[in-house]
Amino acid sequence: MTTSDEPELAQETAELVRPYVITNGRDLLDDSDFSLITLVTMHREPPRTKPLDPEKLRLLELCAGGFLSVAEIAGHMQLPVGVVKILVSDLTAEGHLSTRAPIPSAQLVDRQILEEVLNGLQARFG
């Protein structure tokens, strides 16, 4: 069955060419340092020289406003997640961005997070 606005269907698009251009042909690696929910913002003391790459500049501009997840950056910029991970990874290494690490999946931490999620949901919707 097909629904008209089904976004999940895989598409082969011409846009696929772009990511490879943006990332200088680098593999869209699965960089475990940056997950979908890694939180990113502009560094408080960024280097004086701005990146030359227009997509990096656009990403920096977006991140100047506050914290966003990698997934949100991809959504706002309309770029694939794999590309955004590479751009974020580069910009972090260059000192333009800083990140908050995603949660480690240790049980003890999970316990606290679940507690906070539950309390938050109940406070908001209960």
Partner: protein
Amino acid sequence: MGSRLDLDDSVYLRSSVQTAAKILVVGHFAVGKTTFIGTMSEIPPLRTEEVMTQAGAGIDDPKGAPGKTTTTVAMDFGRLTLSEKLVLYLFGTPGQQRFVQVWEDLSRGALGALVLVDPERLEESFPVMDLVEHYGIPYTIAVNQFDGTPSHSLEEIREALDLLPETPVVNCDARDQRSSADSLIVLVRYLQSRLN
């Protein structure tokens, strides 16, 4: 050069937020994932794409080799700031077996999954349940009651889906915030119970 993104401050997280958590909202096409995420999200839901390679028929090597094709899969997601320090992201994605790379990314660090099912099309939920189980993601079931659907008891649905006795099954209307929040709360309580 890309145009400047004009975004107001509400798109950004509170600066006090330290931790991001993730829950998956999964199910087959048209089961209500996008609706659910739209109902719960504090931001207009966003969509991202993952670019991935897909092995051609008969190629088992996941690293792929010649013959692989590149496809993209879209997922939508929403955001809920749940405390000064914690933000929860809800990621919606369908369950095609071939989208393994996306699933690896999605499942990493996920607290759990809410599996949406349509009581009239239960068999279509099997592939996505297989995936969730394959990646070891704990899940609960939310039965999306569409209008005019003859009602099946939750017991019948549990049996048809061959669930473990401890797996919670609840009714849910993905268009209704209270109902959707309740099914998330059931999931979180279940996740807590598994740690004890």
